[in-house]
Symmetry: C2
Subunit: 167 residues, 2 copies
DNA sequence: TGCCATTGTTCAGCATTCTGTCAATCACCC
DNA sequence: GGGTGATTGACAGAATGCTGAACAATGGCA
């Protein structure tokens, strides 16, 4: 396969787009010292205070066995707090600290700028189309990865009603 | 920012698409034990036998300081050979071994299947559009990363004429 | 009550990716 | 020629991301 063909393969282009997206995120959020995954984790914890690690990983499509490291780093910076669950001693429930909530709020404008810079090469109509196609691609291929997104039941302090499995 | 908003942000969707693309690649190419980057490196070395590591990294948008590890792994499996350059004692020139060339040829159909599975959720017209938009996004944002793609001069044994820098 | 499958977390190991830094080497200018 | 700055390839360190396995806690069921 010639190199020029590789350049037009979706696999290569997606890897390249990911690389660019990552670089833009680190650039815009340098003052907050946040990575894309750390940001996503904090958004999810804000919406579901008291979520456990496994359910969090389902919400943001992150590998279960790696999310511990992400949380640990956030915890060491006092952005996230981990509390043992009284119901289930295996679980450690996650909460944003006041500092974490403030940082998340401050970072929002920067994250928005990342999206604008990413899509800058496209026209407004193309941007809508691009996002539409990406959503379809990610949704229909959701089960292809070992860490699919799952809309798990809300068993957190904000909406505790039923206990169901993430699977 | 609500979690539902995050799900439609291009940054998150691109990360998800990358995760899916990676998983499909590993699945299809399991028998060859190849990663996407290893495959891209081998394609580039096949087209430019005798390329050095720095120029290779420019061709496939891979960080210069990390590509050594990738090459080392390929070399340890006897897929790639590294030879010291007579011209420049700093350089180590890269070649595919016979085994590497054979594996690359055998893997091509699997790599093609990855692309098909990736784009399966889209209609033929949408696939063209999606690739077009991705190319534009990656090209116009090329300089955003520290490892931009550069169409470096061919100084290899196949087309040695001039020596220019990769920068 | 006791067994056992399930669940939640963690760890080891491998492979990207980035930022730096370093020594060896080279190209170029005076 | 000789010095200077750039280039090349190595390495360390931090952060993702995956597989697989270990381990403890839980809960259903005989």
């Amino acid at each position: 396969m010639p190199l020029s063909d590789l350049y037009s393969k979706p696999g290569h282009l997606i890897r390249r787009a990911h690389q660019i997206s990552w670089a833009l995120f680190l650039d815009e959020c340098a003052e907050f010292n946040l990575t894309p995954v750390q940001y996503a984790a904090m958004v999810a914890i804000e919406e579901r205070p008291g979520v456990d690690a496994t359910r969090l990983s389902s919400l943001i499509a992150f590998d279960r066995s790696t999310i511990g490291n992400v949380i640990e780093r956030l915890e060491s910076r006092n952005l996230v707090e981990r509390k043992a669950s009284a119901d289930d001693k295996r679980q450690k429930l996650l909460f944003l600290s006041g500092e974490g909530a403030a940082l998340l709020k401050n970072a929002e404008a920067s994250v928005e700028r990342v999206q604008e810079r990413l899509l800058a090469p496209l026209t407004p109509a193309e941007r809508k189309q691009f996002i539409k196609l990406l959503i379809r691609l990610a949704t229909l291929n959701n089960e292809a990865t070992s860490a699919p997104i799952r809309e798990v039941e809300d068993t957190t302090s904000m909406g505790r009603h039923v206990r169901t499995s993430a699977r």
